[in-house]
């Protein structure tokens, strides 16, 4: 990897390297975003360049802030669920689960077996669609236009299936406090059983077309090193920290729902580079498929929502609760304070993308502009989730 040779001229602690106003000697200040093809939405990054080397960079957030946390304080517990579908449009079901899980933990609600299985199945499918979206978009960032279309081929099939238990194709809000909103039928199970081997047969194509491609390998191998201590410092989770060698996955570390019943591995890579994170996500396809296979075999009959499920005007007991799940991007969690009224006193959403983005500035220092794009993409950012 090529690094800027005169890095020592950039002095000071990373956090104090703020941008001053006005022209600077010998360097170029460049605004990447808020409208830029590879910031995937409205992220703005201020770059200071020498030639194409990045001397320092500073992500600027807040262009897509929608006050989800504040909205939570004025909505009922039932009325806040659709918001969870909008926080992260790429992978909304873990957010659904984080919120309803927090409420259930607060009120001590038991969820019926079948609902738990439906939650696992839909969430794992959602994880695959999210990773497929990331895969296509990442390769698009690196300049290849075709893989995203192949990824969408599979993704469309999954979305068609997911439409049965959720009713929508993008912003799912199908979880309910005490269960799920819609049941799945035999046709869905059949479709899923057909999809799993099909998807497995497509994975070698991904490898041939993209992973093994020498141009791609040269673009991502050894780029953007994020050693484990750096990940820890910034609180990175999900594929980012697993790409740095730590098998940290909430599904294993603090099992929720019925994840302790399934047999799956947590893929890790210790190269710490973009390729590591890339490979972790590709390996997670296979693990999600394994979970899906087991869940589809084990799913029992029964109700999908508890008896006397909370009505919109339902009031939970007073208290504070924290609940974390593993989203496609990392630790997705909700901290909830209830004062015993119809709506929460405070909802705090912990977005994995926010912590993951904060690694970017340090990792991109001294690299080339093209590398910065590769690093940014490898973090799998969804901007609405960062701003919330």
């Amino acid at each position: 990897m090529t690094r800027y040779p005169n890095m020592e001229q950039v002095t000071g602690d990373f956090y104090t390297q703020n941008f001053e106003k006005g022209a600077r000697e010998g360097s170029l200040i460049l605004n990447m975003g808020p409208q830029h093809p590879s910031t995937h939405g409205v992220l703005r990054i201020i770059l200071e360049l020498d030639g194409e080397y990045i001397l320092r960079c500073d992500p600027v957030l807040g262009y897509l802030h929608r006050m989800h946390e504040k909205m939570g304080e004025s909505k009922t517990y039932r009325g806040f669920i659709p918001n969870m579908g909008r926080v992260d449009y790429g992978c909304p079901l873990p957010w659904n689960w984080a919120f309803v899980g927090a409420v259930e933990k607060l009120a001590g609600i038991e969820v019926p077996e079948r609902a738990e299985y439906i939650r696992v199945i839909t969430t794992e499918m959602n994880r695959i669609t999210s990773h497929l979206l990331w895969w296509g978009a990442y390769i698009l960032d690196l300049g290849a236009f075709t893989p995203i279309m192949y990824a969408f081929d599979e993704r469309e099939w999954l979305l068609d299936l997911l439409q049965t238990p959720t009713g929508s194709r993008l912003t799912y809000s199908s979880f309910r406090v005490g269960g799920v909103g819609h049941d799945i039928d035999d046709k869905f199970i059949e479709g899923l059983k057909a999809f799993i081997p099909y998807f497995r047969s497509r994975l070698p194509m991904y490898k041939d077309l993209v992973t093994d491609n020498i141009i791609l390998r040269k673009r991502v191998e050894d780029i953007g090193p994020m050693p484990l201590d750096m990940c820890r410092r910034y609180g990175a989770t999900g594929p980012v920290i697993r790409g740095s060698g730590l098998a940290y996955d909430i599904r294993r570390a603090e099992p929720y729902g019925i994840y302790d019943r399934f047999d799956f591995e947590i893929p890790t890579q210790d190269t710490c580079c973009c390729m590591g994170r890339y490979k972790v996500r590709l390996a997670e396809f296979e693990q999600s498929l394994r979970i899906l296979e087991q869940a589809v075999d084990q799913i029992p009959d029964g109700p999908i929502i508890m008896d006397k499920a909370p009505k919109p005007s339902w009031k939970p007991p007073k208290g504070e609760v924290y609940f974390a799940v593993e989203g496609a991007r990392g630790k997705t969690s909700v901290y909830l304070v209830s004062d015993g009224t119809k709506s929460p006193y405070r909802v705090k959403l912990r977005a994995p993308g926010f912590s993951n983005l904060s690694l970017f500035a340090e990792a991109a220092q001294g690299t080339l502009l093209a590398d910065a794009v590769a690093i940014l993409g490898s973090l799998d950012l969804i901007i609405p989730e960062i701003d919330r």
Partner: protein, 323 residues
């Protein structure tokens, strides 16, 4: 006063070439979008005309109907000069290409040299565009364009020189005449390495993926033509496609026997071969990711250039020994 016949011929050819460039650009845009669509398992343009055949024409009209904008602080002369400067040399280039013994706009003894010299002008247009538009992305794109074009010109020339050594002429018609009708009589059989080097270099010269760094969309938004709208952009676009046709035509002349082909010699062989090469270029574009800038230069200086030099020396040596 007697008008020299040669002058009339050039004027007629120039007019014909303009029409031909426009037609080719339209056809190539259509082909590119169609190929891309089929590679990506979608139909491509489909709605305007049968199978979308007149889509590029309509797109061209749309481009013309748009407003010509110039950003604040841009250098007006350079800004407007650049698209024109990118288009004019290309027209000249088309003049010297021998489509068939009769269909040659302007037969020059140094045709090859002329083409390579004028092709080098294109980079100036890119530089002016990036510099004159007062845009940082444009500037970065222009800087990339210059170093890339200059670098890739060298192996390109060396590869072409090998052919010139071998045939002993710079006249394109004679180079074709030196080859036979059947594929095994073409220069590509004698000079496969030169062909590969030539083909890789023209990808760099014409800024095609995977070497499309000056306009790398995901890095530089649109590179040197970020600020161009309407026909300003349209001219760059046309020039890019026209350039592709030229370099592929030259490849056909040098390596693939020009208008000669099995059974019936003629311009149809020329076009068919050119379009096959163009198809390969498009195919590459829709398959590969983009290389990084330092890698691009490394490929050039560390691989193409030594190989081209070795190829040239080898050719010279063999020519000396066997001639």
């Amino acid at each position: 006063m007697k008008i020299p016949i040669e002058l009339i011929r050039i004027v007629v050819a120039l007019v014909a070439v303009m029409a031909w460039v426009g037609l080719n650009a339209l056809l190539l845009v259509y082909c590119e979008r169609k190929y891309a669509g089929h590679i990506q398992r979608r139909p491509g343009p489909f709605e305007v005309g049968p199978h979308g055949i007149i889509q590029p024409l309509i797109d061209g009209l749309k481009l013309m109907a748009k407003q010509l904008l110039m950003p604040d602080g841009a250098d007006a002369i350079l800004f407007w000069l650049a698209p024109i400067l990118s288009m004019i040399p290309v027209l000249l280039l088309f003049l010297c290409i021998p489509y068939s013994p009769l269909l040659t706009g302007w037969e020059v003894n140094l045709g090859l040299l002329l083409i390579l010299a004028f092709a080098g002008l294109n980079v100036l247009a890119l530089l002016l565009a990036g510099w004159g538009s007062n845009n940082k992305w444009g500037l970065l794109g222009a800087a990339r364009a210059v170093s890339q074009s200059v670098a890739y010109e060298i192996p390109l020339l060396l590869a072409v020189l090998a052919i010139a050594f071998q045939t002993g002429t710079l006249n394109l018609t004679e180079i074709v005449n030196g080859q036979g009708s059947w594929p095994w009589q073409w220069n590509i059989i004698v000079q496969p390495l030169a062909f590969l080097i030539y083909f890789t270099s023209i990808l760099g010269e014409t800024n095609r993926a995977p070497f499309d760094l000056p306009e790398a969309e995901s890095e530089l938004t649109a590179g040197f033509h970020t600020e161009y709208s309407s026909m300003g952009f349209g001219l760059f676009f046309m020039a890019e496609y026209a350039n592709m046709v030229v370099v592929c035509s030259v490849a056909t002349v040098l390596f693939l026997g020009g208008w000669k082909g099995p059974f019936f010699d003629g311009w149809w062989w020329f076009l068919a071969k050119t379009y096959v090469l163009l198809f390969v270029m498009i195919w590459l574009r829709w398959t590969y990711p983009r290389v990084r800038f330092d890698q691009l230069l490394n490929i050039n200086w560390k691989w193409l250039l030594p190989l081209a030099v070795a190829n040239l020396l080898g050719t010279a040596f063999l020519m000396k020994v066997f001639a």
